[in-house]
Symmetry: D2
Subunit: 341 residues, 4 copies
């Protein structure tokens, strides 16, 4: 059986596993005060060209979103996000559990537009009853989005400008950041992201790490007294060096981007293969998630050979199916999948 | 200047004020253990034809919604509501502050449809990732809605049936319940409401009381150990008899409905007056809130004679303006307003 | 039957009732934007000799504590309070419901000492694991305390100095503030309180009002964007003028203090009466709550003539019983009670 | 430099590392639906002799405590715990962040007594104002305690009986459970724990795993719909098999207990070594944490050779110092440490 359900099927990149093995019995202080963590932070700052950035390592994506958002907002504020944003759909209400409303804005191919954000905030403060409404306290977006799509640099610049105009921070969920940066369609570098966002995270869980996400606060101090907030959210890893060591490895010799590029190459091969055989796509994704439309017979037939996620159905009843590649996808698996089309 | 901004401009019905005055120096136990409160509960149960109902008195609407919803849900559950529901728009995130997501469903003239609720819940549990999503734990609706519209009895029966089918409670926000029941378009009695809802509240603040809302739990026990939940929400009035005494008065000799009928008569007079002069309405409301479309000149001109709320604008740029009547509205004020058209 | 259970048995001072009656059908804007509220704020600022103070009116004590504390703290911070503090004992976890720990310090006759506060905070930051502990973000105390006792001016000055030294706000719960200020033992005025506290509230519910508490923030801005926080806590009264009008009356011609003095006179008469007959006291209270030790026979016998609260028992098994007087206590009731001793 | 600061200095037991390495590129479903997780659950049920138990794997201790407690309590309930309980001291308010008060009871060598629990709950419901207080909804204790001490079987039986009597669940924090079970002083097996507790967790982070805690609910259903609660707390590991595989290894061939025994042997050697040289102990601990009293000269001198934690000071000013051993402690390090005494 072939597996394309998601991008966290395997463990970690062999170079990381090798270092975990090699350092396994070393004794290091806990909670991120070890030298691997310090080194990793340094390398990430360099990769972001943001020497003043504050870096924090957390364990998983939902946890990172909930913790960062709680740190950025006052209790009566909410977070703007596209309706399809992960925090609005797939986090079991983790944001609301900290008391904050997710204010859903229209999505366009998974993206929120600067215009919509600007209009929402402008209308909000023009409404005489705004004191009774949840104040928009920050903007959340994903890059790539939950549909695999990408913001262009100018789109992100506009969003960043709108946030600055209204004095709210822009937070970017980079659970799959590597797969965005590695895409041929991307016109942004990590340094661009760091320049345009107030806070973002570099996803490790889906891009080569065993687990772990690196939070980058590009405006020092913006997350306040973050350590106890992390602890309070149950997000503080006792053996913090596990996170440091993984990110240190990912940001040595550009490993993060290199392995992401492999995932993209695999995704593009899969995409071309489906397209060549006349399949249509639900959305035109340039990253590692591909959303293919399958009639139900084909879907049933393929399911004997491969696992994948069914995301929904088109109006005409065909299935919308997601195939995900990753840094670990084997080219022969793609070949075999295409063979079964 | 005439005032039609809202339905809580004045104090309380003179009969209530008279009793407050008369009993002012009586000594009664606190927190609702006095005989006025006990009497009021009995009268409400009779009016609801629901002898087993549990009655609780709280102070205001947002507080009541937040407290009841917190009592009905488990932490990981959310509350279904139309996008225009008061809890989704005008409660400053009080629901989220207790950790619960408001799951917004499409609104149709301010109402949610049984079909939409059924489909949402069905689709939810059909989604293989539902464990990562906020479980729909109850349904919230307002009667009358925030747009002044009414559910018909068959609509509420369908909503009630859908909730039963899926095993979730139906909660009705009756901040203006009197103005619904008193409307010529209403085909439901208080007993119907009690039969079809698991929990609802009878709004006092906007319908004759100085303040206060009466929560009716028609399935005893459904609110659990409600007393400490009320206290924890800061919703326990020390001098509880103030609430009991007001509702005792409102439910003596049918006062609640009688004064509500006055508000409706005033609203209908206002509505006809506007219609006769060719004004259009944003929505066809049979209750005490009337939403009139005014071009900006007229709006400006009228604003020298009367206060009212501007709710928004039509696509063509005209203002949508709300005029609210209440139990206290004077007929001569309506006459004078119509004179200025 | 005589009643000494608590200080909120009756309604409101007749002058307030008279104004409620007189203004009952006036039309005023909601939510505290009316002129009565504006006037009341002005009078309170004058009484506090604090022209820059921000004044907000809320409905009840637990609600006020929860709302103010939530406004003052960051999510990871807690509130220091004596173990006997109302927020630590009798608010059903309302503070924790907003996510904040009540950090209990030793109490001495219901009071917290500046030394204990200083040592706690100093030790906290000296502990290498403090990042894993709840940071002390503010100090809460009651004046008078839950035992009826009073801080002296120098005690409050020391507490205020310690808070300043450590950069945390001092918040004073004045649910019975009038009964403190009116006590012969008090060596502080309202202006002293305002000078020494960052935020406090002037209790109305127990001192002459029907309900209502006046929050005084002596450092403008310290409560942040307080309006939506109040709304989110369900603490925003629709007919805000009810609060304004009550406090306007209480702060006209010194009514608040004058009626409090009556309560104190009644309490002292009761205290002397018990003492004269040889009764002992659990605590020496100079305010309106008197804690008398009764053997169980006497307690049983008195309970046929009067209601009172049993607070606990001494080690030898006698009952500790609270008698509360208020602005409304009738002297003949005291006489009759003493007669039954 | 020797390191005795804590019991999570190293990575994981070599057998676990070996399996992580070996399975690294296997493709498994996420979120704990893999076969390693299923196997691990089966083995834990057998070790607990509790075939009906529900097992869940989480990542860290604070996270586990916050998630389990939130699942067990209703919003208005609190958790009883000794003042020294980890949840009361070192979790940055994670319990309160979910809205629950930690109700601190007296500690005796880190333990709570059945008598104290019984009296607290009995007194609570005897207090006429209990509706205004935080209801005790469960009992939390640690085994071993934060001081390294152990409950005897009869103590735990008494605590269990008191909890049953009052109808509240007993939850045992087993962050270092292995080090309790492996102690010569322990008179309980895992099966005893399972029989006496409603929920407990088997700590992995400190006892051989890279990270991870195994929650055992011995009464199925008691945790309710736990999956979304875990997700909401940010505690759901994407690559769930990492947890399953670790616990599968720990519960194969009794590894968990065997490696714990090593830690105990090392701790006893250290303890005897100190005792032999005349050192006194702050507490008599039979487990892997040893609390030694050092005068400040000795403490200073030793700190050049070894790291350890200073927990406080005795009344006479000597330091209370903690030395922790673990499954990974090397005997030669103990020898060398003792050499420096």
């Amino acid at each position: 059986m072939l597996h394309f359900d998601c991008d966290y099927l395997e463990g970690t990149h062999p170079l990381i596993m090798e270092r975990l093995l090699k350092t396994n019995l070393e004794q290091t202080p806990g909670y991120g005060f070890d030298r691997y963590t310090i080194d990793a932070k340094e390398k990430i700052k360099q990769a972001c060209q943001c020497p003043d950035a504050e870096i924090h390592f957390l364990i998983g994506g939902t946890q990172t979103n909930a913790t960062v958002i709680d740190a950025l907002l006052r209790p009566y504020q909410g977070v703007l996000a596209p309706t399809t944003g992960h925090i609005n759909v797939h986090e079991s209400g983790a944001i609301e559990a900290s008391g904050h409303k997710v204010i859903a804005l229209p999505q366009h191919n998974g993206k929120v537009s600067a215009n919509d954000v600007d209009r929402y905030i402008t209308d909000f403060y023009a409404d005489p009853t705004f004191g009774h409404m949840v104040a928009p306290g920050m903007l959340y977006l994903s890059y790539p989005t939950e549909y695999g799509t990408l913001y262009s640099r100018s789109e992100l610049e506009n969003l960043s400008a709108v946030c600055k105009k209204h004095g709210i921070p822009l937070y970017l969920d980079g659970a799959r950041l590597g797969y965005a940066l590695a895409s041929d369609d991307a016109d942004m570098s990590l340094a661009d992201i760091a320049r345009l966002c107030d806070v973002f995270y570099i996803g490790g869980t889906k891009v080569g790490a065993l687990f772990g996400e690196a939070v980058v606060a590009t405006r020092p101090g913006i997350l306040g007294n973050f350590f106890p907030i992390v602890k309070q959210h149950g997000a503080l890893l006792a053996k913090g060096r596990l996170l440091g060591l993984q990110f240190d490895t990912l940001f040595t010799d550009n490993l993060y981007l290199r392995i992401a590029k492999h995932a993209i190459r695999m995704a593009m091969k899969l995409k071309c293969g489906f397209a060549d055989k006349g399949y249509r796509f639900y959305i035109d994704s340039p990253t590692n998630q591909q959303f293919v439309i399958l009639d139900n017979n084909t879907r049933e037939r393929l399911s004997h050979h491969a696992t994948f996620e069914t995301w929904g159905h088109t109006d005409s009843g065909d299935a919308i199916v997601r195939f995900a590649t990753s840094w670990a996808t084997r080219e022969e698996d793609i070949d075999e999948l295409l063979h079964w089309l």
